[in-house]
């Protein structure tokens, strides 16, 4: 079957997600779709018009110059020419797709240099010539990054698997891109993605071809697939004009601005805002949540969510509530969202709920944290007097700005960088003081110890001295030997000297 497929589309690398292959054959800078003769939707329409003008029927069968371009446009010439084994053998020589992301000028000037050197030099051939002057658009760095990573991963897989995966993913990515470009309804686009995830993961787990893959690889493939199919259509899928996402974003932003008086305490979270360490984690969490909007893949967005929530958990821990139970956690997330007022929150959440692989939102840490974020936003949207346990009048006064929270000033003062730095420095000074005191104490103790030691030494010496007094006796005179006639007295003397006793005892 693979063979049948390969021969039906000769000379195209199946398993390489080559960006240059994906581009419109007119080199207009947009993505092409194999189903549309490798053209982008706009060029395809023009092509159809032209074809219809020249012949009244069968625009798809029209033998235009474009067809030739399509065949000229292939990568390694031997790929897919006849058998799968051939396909496999060419994998190694296939150009890394990332390296094909070179500027179009370069592509046109350097042609047909399929050498290993050219791979690393970053020169890749591209034969397509721009037929019409439309502002060319460079493939964004985000796309490049995703494609490169995915390709690198595909290279580590057995070739039949890699080729199958690449083929499927490319098909659905093109479909999403084309459908979203022509303003298909968001529900239909969601369904395309959803069906793909379902079928693809089903295939990965059940099909014999993938039997050798472990769970981790399967998850990885799913994640890459998700990134790949979405990033190429990101502009169309994120906050699409067919939805009211943008209005909702503005609404939420306004609502959050009005709620600037809501404190953590009111929400039911214990946040020790005066503690600089806690403060730091709040700041980190705020940075993370704001960053979500800058990321272009579900994976990267969810990583921001996870990092944000980890900081929140840490901040709760530091605030001394013990383990951040869900009862503490959710209010803290709400609090951080209010503090951050993150840009395009609704759009980001909608993008993820609509297009993420549903399985990753159901399970795993990211899913849990993301759900908490959804809850937080939902709570904020519908926040009223009841949900904050205050009277309607009081709530209205706060909302209209007639009363401001007493602790708000405190908080905002604390938000001021200078004050915060001072506060931090004070704390450091305080710490230093305490350490100094501890050091002093230790020195004193050490001193006492030394004195004690000295005293005890002296005492011992004294004792020893008393016990074993050193008495120095005068030296005895050496015995004198006399020769000659001995008298009694001298005899005694000799005997004495024969038994000498030098010592006293």
């Amino acid at each position: 079957m693979i063979m049948a497929f390969l021969s039906s589309q000769p000379k195209r690398s199946m398993f390489q997600l080559n960006e240059s292959d994906l581009m419109c054959k007119n080199a207009c800078g947009f993505y092409g779709n194999p189903e549309w003769r490798g053209l982008c939707s706009q060029c395809f329409r023009e092509y159809q018009k032209k074809a219809e003008a020249s012949r009244s029927r069968h625009p798809l069968r029209g033998k235009e110059t474009l067809t030739e371009q399509t065949t000229k446009h292939q990568t390694p010439p031997s790929v897919g020419s006849s058998t799968l084994s051939q396909t496999v053998s060419t994998v190694k020589t296939a150009l890394s797709p990332f390296d094909k992301f070179v500027s179009k000028k370069k592509q046109q000037s350097e042609r047909k240099t399929h050498t290993v050197k050219s791979i690393f030099a970053g020169a890749a051939p591209k034969d397509a010539e721009p037929e019409h002057a439309r502002p060319t658009r460079q493939v964004s760095a985000d796309v490049q990054h995703v494609v490169r990573e995915f390709n690198e991963y595909l290279q580590t897989l057995p070739k039949p698997i890699a080729s199958d995966i690449a083929k499927r993913i490319q098909t659905v990515a093109n479909k999403l891109l084309d459908y979203s470009a022509v303003d298909y309804s968001i529900d239909e686009l969601t369904k395309i993605a959803g069906n793909f995830y379902e079928e693809f993961s089903d295939r990965l787990t059940r099909n014999e071809l993938f039997a050798g893959l472990d769970e981790a690889s399967t998850t990885k493939i799913m994640d890459y697939a998700e990134s790949y199919i979405l990033i190429r259509s990101y502009k169309n899928l994120f906050c699409p004009p067919t939805t009211d996402d943008e209005d909702k974003d503005l609404q939420t932003q306004k609502q959050i601005r009005k709620l600037n008086w809501v404190t953590a305490q009111r929400l039911g979270a214990t946040v020790d805002e005066m503690n600089p360490d806690v403060r730091e984690h709040i700041d980190l969490a705020i940075t993370d949540i704001i960053e979500i909007d800058t990321k272009k893949t579900v994976d990267a967005k969810l990583k921001c969510v996870v990092s944000c929530c980890r900081n929140i958990a840490q901040m709760l821990q530091l605030s001394g509530n013990g383990p951040p139970s869900a009862d503490q956690f959710l209010p803290a997330v709400i609090y951080v969202v209010l503090k951050a007022n993150p840009p395009r929150m609704q759009s980001n959440i909608k993008f993820i709920t609509r297009f993420a692989n549903p399985n990753r939102l159901r399970t795993g840490e990211a899913g849990y944290f993301f759900t908490n974020l959804c809850c937080a936003l939902s709570f904020i949207e519908s926040m009223d007097a009841k949900s904050l346990e205050m009277t309607e009048d009081e709530f209205q006064l706060y909302m209209s700005g007639e009363i401001s929270s007493s602790s708000l000033h405190e908080q905002q003062a604390f938000m001021c960088d200078g004050l915060r730095q001072m506060n931090k420095n004070l704390q450091i000074l305080n710490e230093l003081k305490q350490r100094q005191a501890r050091l002093d104490e230790k020195i004193k103790a050490e001193q006492e110890l030394m004195e004690d030691f000295f005293a005890s030494c002296m005492r011992k010496i004294q004792e020893g001295r008393e016990k074993y007094p050193l008495i120095v006796k005068p030296r005895r005179q050496l015995p004198v030997f006399t020769f000659g006639p001995a008298n009694n007295a001298s005899k005694e003397n000799i005997q004495d000297s024969l038994n000498p006793s030098w010592a006293d005892s």
Partner: protein
Amino acid sequence: MAASAVASPRVHDFKVVLLGEGCVGKTSLVLRYVENKFNEKHESTLQASFLTKKLTIGNRRVNLSIWDTAGQERFHALGPIYYRDSNGAILTYDITDDDSFQKVKNWVKELKKMLGTDIMLTIIGNKTDLEKQRNVSVETAEQYAESVGATHFQTSAKLNRGVEEVFLDLSRRMIEQADKQDAEKRALSPSSRSTAAGNVVLLEETPAAPIKSGCC
């Protein structure tokens, strides 16, 4: 290389939500189960609100994601966002506190309304080590559980009694349910895809093809 190997056993990713009044021991139960820890003083790991556990039942591998939920009244309306798409729910009450048992009943009603019979329910009477202060009789609880199609267990997170069984039983029932749903799906669209061994069927979809409607 592994082409001839039998397809690896399916891995089930199950989401389980924990519901129940504050202080009934939800967190304690999960920590006991996942980390075999019990803290008299309510202090523990950094992440107590989300925990995972891998287990193998027969030839099935199961990854449990256990979600703790905020129990305060003001967050009640957010319940559906939490338990959306969950495969199981563990509803805990404290056997010494009848109020907490009434709360369980409310949760059951809500879950049934929102998720129908897709979700497997387990009701737990926790703190059996405080038998002397019991306020909810075993019969009442068991009768109620049966009437709503839930399983009932009694546990003590403190003494590690009955905790393992709760999750094992729930996992078994979730596997059964997943199999049932799979079978139903297959029955609905028998020709939707071929999984024939060895054959790689590459279908080209045309842009005009109607979009298949999946279950939402």
